[in-house]
């Protein structure tokens, strides 16, 4: 997909996210919308190698959603990538659904690890990277973390270990939207500078605009291809709630669903943006 089509795909995914969470009556729209472009770049921008109808293909690249509460974004992307029917998206968080509130690898094809308890995904990704390298696979492991999540000590245990083990088949992406449940990340417990911290732990770090699709595809592809003995971190500057004006940069939209009026307004905005982009 070229950048133009990727941008339209990301708007489709945003529409899915808003619709799913509204239908579910609960969920995490802010952090799902902030990482929608990153996920679209990975899955539809020819960054990751995967086969939707053979989800366990041994030499595939792996993606771990360490910030598991952004499950709606991952589900929307996996459905549109063909891992399961899009019609299932409306079952999110409902009894009997495969689409649990946080991703369950035993239920959903394409989900590589069950996540939800923050701070664990980078360690899982390290183990995967070690195992894949041990078996001689060229695969790359991507892990998406939240910036608030970087307050978890285990993230830095993993960061230290990945650099120690020279895991250059590992790429961490930080969805740096600056907000967490209780407010601004810098006010709750300041993790800044995330870039400097990863660099000082021995990672190769690149900052990117997490909503610039062209830049995302370039940066992610380069990080995947570059194997120089260091793990790589991409700090993606994003806006929480991106694409829905009343949600943007509002911590209050971390974990609640829209009411019917808000849903209609949000969908109208996203569809207008998509129509405009389609005409461009």
């Amino acid at each position: 997909m070229d950048v133009h089509d990727l941008e339209i795909r990301a708007l489709d995914v945003r529409e899915d996210i808003v619709s799913m969470i509204a239908e579910a009556g609960s969920g995490h729209p802010g952090g799902s919308l902030s990482c929608a472009d990153i996920l679209c770049a990975l899955y539809f921008g020819s960054v990751m190698d995967y086969t939707a109808d053979d989800p366990h293909k041994a030499d595939r690249d792996r993606f771990i959603l360490s910030k598991g509460h952004a499950a709606p974004a991952l589900y929307a992307v996996l459905a549109r990538a063909g891992f399961f029917p899009s019609s299932e998206l409306k079952t999110l968080r409902k009894l009997g659904s495969r689409l649990q509130g946080h991703p369950d690898m035993r239920l959903v094809p394409g989900v590589e690890a069950s996540t939800g308890s923050l701070g664990q995904g980078l360690s899982i990704a390290c183990g995967m990277a070690l195992g894949l390298a041990m078996d001689g696979f060229p695969s790359t492991v991507f892990a998406l973390l939240g910036d608030g999540e970087c307050q978890e000590g285990q993230v830095w245990e993993a960061a230290m270990y990945a650099a120690h083990m020279d895991l250059d088949n590992l790429v961490a992406i930080i969805d740096h939207n600056g907000l967490q449940i209780d407010g601004r990340v810098v006010d709750v417990c300041n993790p800044e500078s995330i870039t400097d911290k990863f660099a000082s732990f021995g990672w190769q770090v690149q900052e990117v605009d997490g909503h610039d699709m062209g830049a995302l595809v370039r940066t992610l592809s380069k990080a995947k291809a570059h194997r120089s003995g260091q793990p790589k971190a991409i700090v993606a500057k994003t806006v929480k709630g991106r694409g829905v004006s009343f949600m943007e940069d509002q911590a209050s939209w971390h974990g609640k669903a829209t009411d019917p009026d808000q849903t209609a307004r949000a969908l109208k905005e996203i569809r207008a943006a998509r129509d405009e982009r389609s005409r461009a």
């Binding site: 369950d104 690898m105 035993r106 590589e112 690890a113 069950s114 996540t115 939800g116 308890s117 701070g119 664990q120 360690s123 899982i124 990704a125 390290c126 183990g127 995967m128 990277a129 070690l130 195992g131 894949l132 041990m134 078996d135 000590g153 285990q154 245990e157 993993a158 230290m160 270990y161 120690h164 083990m165």
Partner: protein
Amino acid sequence: MIRFASDEERAKRLATRAAYGPALIELASQGLPVVAVDADLSGSTTIGKFAASSEENARRTFNVGIAEQNMTDVAAGLALTGKIAFTGSFAVFGCGRAYDQIRNTVCYADLNVKICPTHAGISVGPDGGTHQMLEDIALMRSLPNMRVLVPADFAAAGAAIKLAARTDGPVYVRMGRAQVPCVYASDVDLEIGRAYVLREGADVTIIACGVEIDEALKAACALECEGIQAEVIDAFSVKPLDEETILASVAKTGCAVVAEEHSVNGGLGEAVASLLARQAPAPCEFVGMQDRFGKSGSFDELMVAFGLDSAAIAKAASRAMERKASS
């Protein structure tokens, strides 16, 4: 048929943890894709022996430093690439500190990770209460998908590690630092979900696991001198529990004692109590840590100080029999 240790073997005292590294070496030599992840305690856990055994096994061993949460999830990631991943560390860290990782990553996804820490219970002795893990069986047996094995001796520990490797999904193997007499023959082959009758008797059933097996056998000898025939059962597989063997024994004896080097809350004792309450209520007494932390002392001293020794088991057996007689 289970073979027991010969008199010569019984004279040997070995720590259960000493079986860990050698068992991993054996599994790797059989071509199983085992990997071991430790957290700066590879000498104590004996995972170091596995790493030192060959270049290939060194490549299969990972030391994450003092970071048990990372250790557990790195093992999970390795399991997700088809490895049989074993973790190390002391029980208080490898199980206690990493509980959320064991719960949410390993057990929730039913991953092929074997949580096999050493130095469980009061066997770490002089290190004191901070290091004496007495709640691990409770934590682990409450987790869906987890099996819990508590080997009594060196041979059973080796068998448990090999069983864990050949059982898909999470397994907890609890090992200790204390040197305990051999109960089983060195090549014993145990099964998950089985308990083993080590000594037959008709008056009282003593159900135990881990280091309490030796104490239970000693208690049974002491009781015999008083004319009491105690049946001793090794509930090596705490979860799943061999309900049939335990129920059959208690149906015969009419009362039971459960002994474990663990808190009386949530461990083997409560598992047996729950079984008896549901199926066949009978007087039952419990030997274990009484809702308290441990403290420094030698292992042998602590066993007496906390009422975990053979004398405590024998007294509990007498109490159980008195309750049976008066009921």
